[in-house]
Symmetry: C2
Subunit: 356 residues, 2 copies
DNA sequence: AACGAAAATATAAACGTTTTTATCGCTGAT
DNA sequence: ATCAGCGATAAAAACGTTTATATTTTCGTT
């Protein structure tokens, strides 16, 4: 659509020098005017803006970047698991990127995505981003209990926002889900429904939020005055495969769980698959509560109860926070913990059906 | 880990000028040596490389970009659907990005991701990438039957690779799945199994591969000497919701399908959900063959037959092709059509069970 | 020994900005 | 009348490269 003036459109794109020639002002004045510097006379500014519009001027990012050191890039570290099994992991990252991108939309920042395969690589990339000035800010996730990236970035005063938080008392911008709360709520709901043997399908323990979830899980039992079924906590990568294997193993053990709390939909699908293979039916012989990444649990058969947090919102918040952080705002202000919404799709109560 | 020499590490990063001072050569010689120009004497090159290593020199991308116009960025257009319903769409893009990134890994190209919400925006972004020189190459997908982006990019001779192809006889680099073949194979398998009323759950018709799939679907019926069940072709966004609604509607119609061919796992999940709600069982009253994005159909209950193509491989090929294209290779060489692998998990035969 | 070609290196300009410093013209106070 | 002060603009330098052109060195020929 919107075709430009079709004549002479094949020449080099206009620079501030072009505008200088057109208007008769010097390039310094042009630059100042365009940047909104107060020293240039309002009338002059008018003229220059008009010329810029008419010439279709777009500031050359490279020239700016060279002079100022600003890249107008926001880097995002996107985790992917080792590639041998092409699975469902990381599926939610599309939504995160989409959210970040939405937040960045009005600004003149662009998003560059760096795929990282493990924590060490994440650290390397972060360092490179800082040292080489590849970006003006950084977003990353998969926070470890004691995450070296956070130390590194806090120390070098580089603007960043993390999805998730470490347990160190450091000041940094972050967005997170209230995992302790969610795990507690799910577990408490199942306990209230009569369950005593509850399995927690959890990520690896070095991840900070894995610990949060165990805390919530434990607290629910403690508050009910019951011993927590810690032997039913399984930890691993969050693949569908892991969910299935874990569930299958537990269900065939001597003291099997009567309910599962799953950390994401990938593992949930695996757990449901195991249940299916063993002929168990959700809502009949067993209950499952999931945390819902991408609004898909509603379509499982049967639909299951989930804690739902639209993940794009997290992404958008990450982006907004990063913009504000890059604009100089203090990290203290830039924290938000989301509580996912409970969506009840099953009674999740043991009832009388499975006693003993 | 790998800490640098801890002293004096807080000064400005070394530039070619630093190296010039150290070695005594001029910056021009330094530059040529580092770029591998044959005009510098081998001994000199040695010395300069050594100095560069010791100083921890890293070329400043901004300086290079300004001078050469090369950005060392590969832009990727990532489609996201309108955000009102946070659904499973686009889930496979994580894998594509991962694949592209893998391919780019050795090179000094980085990946910048631009989220686009529809075809028009995709076109705008593409134009901006070209005009503003935001990247040296472009990857995009969601190819329309007559895609303006392809015309634009071919005309401006900008290096790009598309995931999917349009039906115009243009010369451009692309990677695609053999959708005609896959749709044909799935349909033929069901026909061979005795099905006559087969539903094709398809994307919107303006997408090029939607037409390919209809072609394959039609061909299977034609080859069997049967009338194609065109009335059972449904078209829409590929959300889970769409899959469910379509299946529910068709199943309750006067002449319902006995089998579904689904275009991706998102819609498949929706179809299965509808079947579950209506009390139908896959492999018993109905058959479903899917195209498997992310290796998840194995976990459905029951597992269903799919055509599987590891999507990361597509991404890797896209990245490799783009590198070669940016290196000047002709688009003619850079085409690859993948045939997904059939994974049989059900007999998919109507048998005698539903006749009439 | 002198010359010219070839090889190796240096100089300088350029890419498009921003920013520091300089210039100019004006006003108003001395 | 002179000049400090100020507002507006211009000039020039700088960011870190690459590259076209120039210069120096080397070496083989005559």
């Amino acid at each position: 659509m919107a075709a430009e003036n079709p004549t002479a459109r094949r020449s080099a794109p206009p620079t501030i020098k072009t505008l200088a020639d057109i208007t008769g002002y010097s390039i310094a004045t042009i630059s100042k005017a365009l940047r909104g510097s107060p020293v240039v006379a309002p009338a002059t500014r008018e003229v220059i803006f008009k010329a810029a519009r008419e010439a279709g001027y777009q500031a050359n990012a490279r020239g700016m970047a060279l002079r100022t050191g600003r890249t107008c890039q926001a880097a995002v570290l996107m985790p992917v698991t080792a590639a041998q099994n092409y699975e469902w992991d990381g599926v939610e990252y599309t939504q995160i990127l989409s959210g970040i991108s939405q937040a960045l939309d009005g600004s003149d920042y662009r998003m560059s995505v760096h795929v990282v395969r493990d924590a060490a690589e994440g650290c390397d990339v972060a360092r490179r981003v800082i040292d080489q000035g590849l970006a003006d800010g950084l977003i990353f996730s998969g926070i470890l209990d004691d995450d070296p990236r956070i130390d590194l970035l806090v120390e070098s005063r580089f603007p960043f926002v993390s999805l998730g938080r470490c347990r160190q008392p450091l000041e940094y911008a972050h967005v997170d889900i209230d995992n302790e709360w969610a795990a507690h709520a799910a577990t408490a709901r199942l306990i209230a429904g009569g369950h005593r043997r509850i399995s927690l399908v959890n990520p690896e323990r070095r991840l900070s939020y894995a610990l949060d979830r165990i805390d919530g899980f434990t607290r629910a039992f403690r508050e009910a005055g019951l011993p927590a079924s810690h032997d039913l906590v399984v930890e691993g990568d969050l693949s569908t495969h892991f969910g299935r294997e874990s569930a299958a193993r537990l269900l065939q053990s001597a003291e099997p769980p009567t309910a599962f709390v799953c950390i994401n939909e990938s593992t949930t699908l695996g757990v449901l698959s195991a249940l299916g293979s063993l002929g168990r039916q959700v809502g009949v012989d067993i209950d499952v509560i999931a945390y819902d990444d991408i609004n898909v649990s509603a379509y499982f058969t049967p639909p299951i109860t989930t804690f739902y947090q639209p993940i794009e919102v997290l992404g958008r918040t990450l982006g907004e926070f990063l913009l504000r952080r890059m604009a100089g705002e203090e990290p203290k202000e830039l924290r938000q913990i989301f509580r996912p919404k409970l969506i009840e799709r099953q009674p999740d109560s043991l009832g009388g059906r499975l006693v003993g």
